[in-house]
Symmetry: C2
Subunit: 350 residues, 2 copies
């Protein structure tokens, strides 16, 4: 007797890395980021509808593995993500991720997706979305300090949402800058390779910091940051990993995703636990102001929050429907009679 | 230009439901349970090596979705599992599950597996393993109250590890009992269908309770339980869901997986938070005694713990190697240069 085929209920649509890349290209990278930013904005605006938990982290000597769950009344989502700074030296990704979106009503997964590529896109979309509220009017030049895996995605997001067309690149490792330069010139940016962080920030209205070492670093010192600048700080995202000098924080207006998490993981781990910060969702709902002054220094202390992943999964779930980019995966047991799991197993006997 | 193939690093072995069933049959159900019980015993014996977290639950009106992570120095594992009692009435499983095993060293997943079938097997393996320490010498007769999806797996585990050959079945729903009877007679058990819980427990040395309704129920009242019996209580496994009358608990010696979790979810949620219980791992290490007296009432208040899932994933990972029962899944982005995620995306342009 052959194994009977599973029923349609047993299948979960799976978006592989290859298919995610095909989906992105079928939509266009910048259009994808722009649409995704719309989903993120929509979800942050209904902040109170979400079941929010700080991520669940398992730390080890070389890194961390995290689960980031959240849910609204209709969907539940979580992301699995690792962070292992030493991986790069061994030919592995520092960060890999995948995620699941489920139906709250019956608990069944409705999407399994790669999220390494998707996380890069959602991080960039969130940064650029916030910058539309925080960056100086008419920003065209962005400094990018740290030219690793996240760099090009940030650049494209800032072009798509703000019109950034000039990039000033600096990385401790010239090879990283060379890689970013080639990729970004290919995308039509004007690219300036800089010999130092100081040089990179010259004339930039936006400064994006995105380095990967797990340590207290000082990518930006106080004297490097003039007035009227927006800082998009991506790399300080776990305990013991920061990029900015404390003095910059003290003269910035600081915007965060979820204070409970950012105070542990973000740049503001350097500050008093009651240092005032503004939550993104309040800005997006119009309950708090973004930039109010041309001389103001604004800082988005980005650590990444579960709702962004939820929005990304929700967006992919909506966009992948009707395309060939999701494969059905036989992931859920679905016996004819739900009480008869054993009977299903017996009937599968070869 | 066609999309380049992902490198071997990008692939995660996936065990589908169909392949899990094939793997189980290739080993034999009872042999599978016996070997799996060995893994569980081994892991519980090194209890202190594990990073233990209570499960992360997202509750909704109709059910719960949970993530159950744990890790030792080498591997990280988690299970996604839902519990939706009303699902059965709509043709869905009450519980579905899948899980992931990863390398702690680099954070990469090394196995994605269905766990609906696997959870039924690990729950049964854990119950029977504990019963080898707690059930009366020479037990041959088991009462089973609640004849749903878990019933047959329990029966096979108790035969494999203890030699149980006679089953006394009772369920509020005679169709469930009919289903279990057919399946279990097919497996060579002597099966007695009973008209009540009272009748089912007559002459049984072991009583397994395994009902599914989410409510405080009283499947067993005090007068039904004589001395010298082992109670294997499976169904009381979330807040507000219990099966045993409190008086039974008060005259039982109670054994639990992880007190922090069981006091919230198990039968002992009915007792004072400092009511004495014995942890399984202490019994398995010989640091605490199991059954010490022929007249003693022992109770395994089973709620399911992350280490059991970890053991199950570890077992499947070891056993599936070299078989055709794992498919490679392109789940992880793996650019040639780990910093060049964007270049990988660009090269995938169709």
């Amino acid at each position: 007797m052959t194994v009977p085929s599973p029923s349609p209920l047993a299948y979960v649509p799976f978006v592989s890395v290859q298919n995610m890349m095909r989906l992105v290209h079928s939509i266009g990278i910048e259009a994808f980021i722009q649409e995704l930013a719309g989903y993120i904005e929509e979800d942050f605006r209904r902040w109170s509808e979400f079941d929010k938990t700080p991520r669940v982290a398992s730390h080890s000597r070389d890194g961390v593995i995290e689960l980031m769950p959240t849910a609204d009344a209709e969907n539940y989502g979580f992301k699995y993500v690792n962070g292992h700074p030493k991986n790069m030296r061994e030919g592995y990704q520092t960060v890999t991720a995948f995620g699941v979106l489920s139906s709250v009503a019956n608990g069944y997964p409705i999407l399994l997706s790669e999220m390494t590529v998707l996380t890069a896109l959602r991080t960039a979309a969130t940064s650029a979305l916030m910058a539309t509220y925080l960056a100086p009017e008419g920003s065209r030049v962005m400094a990018m300090i740290g030219n690793g895996a996240q760099c090009e995605f940030q650049a494209l997001a800032f072009r798509a949402l703000l019109g950034i067309n000039t990039l000033r690149l600096y990385d401790l490792d010239p090879e990283a800058t060379g890689k970013a330069r080639r990729n970004l010139e290919g995308q039509g940016f004007e690219v300036v390779t800089c010999a130092s962080g100081e040089e990179a920030v010259e004339g930039a209205q936006i400064i994006t910091t995105c380095t990967a070492d797990k340590q207290y670093a000082t990518i930006l010192t106080d004297n490097m940051v003039g007035s009227g600048v927006h800082i998009n700080a991506i790399g300080g995202d776990c305990p013991g990993k920061t990029e900015l000098h404390r003095d910059i924080l003290l003269r910035s207006d600081i915007f965060v995703e979820y204070p409970e998490q950012t105070r542990i993981e973000g740049e503001i781990q350097q500050l008093d636990p009651d240092h005032p910060v503004t939550e993104l969702w309040r800005v997006l709902r119009g309950e708090a102001q973004g930039r109010v002054d041309t001389r103001q220094v604004t800082l988005f202390d980005s650590v990444g929050f579960a709702i962004e992943d939820f929005s990304a999964l929700r967006y992919v779930h909506a966009r992948v429907r009707g395309t060939p980019y999701a494969e059905p995966l036989d992931m859920l047991a679905d016996p004819d009679d739900p009480r008869d799991l054993f009977g299903m197993l017996e009937r599968a006997r070869g």
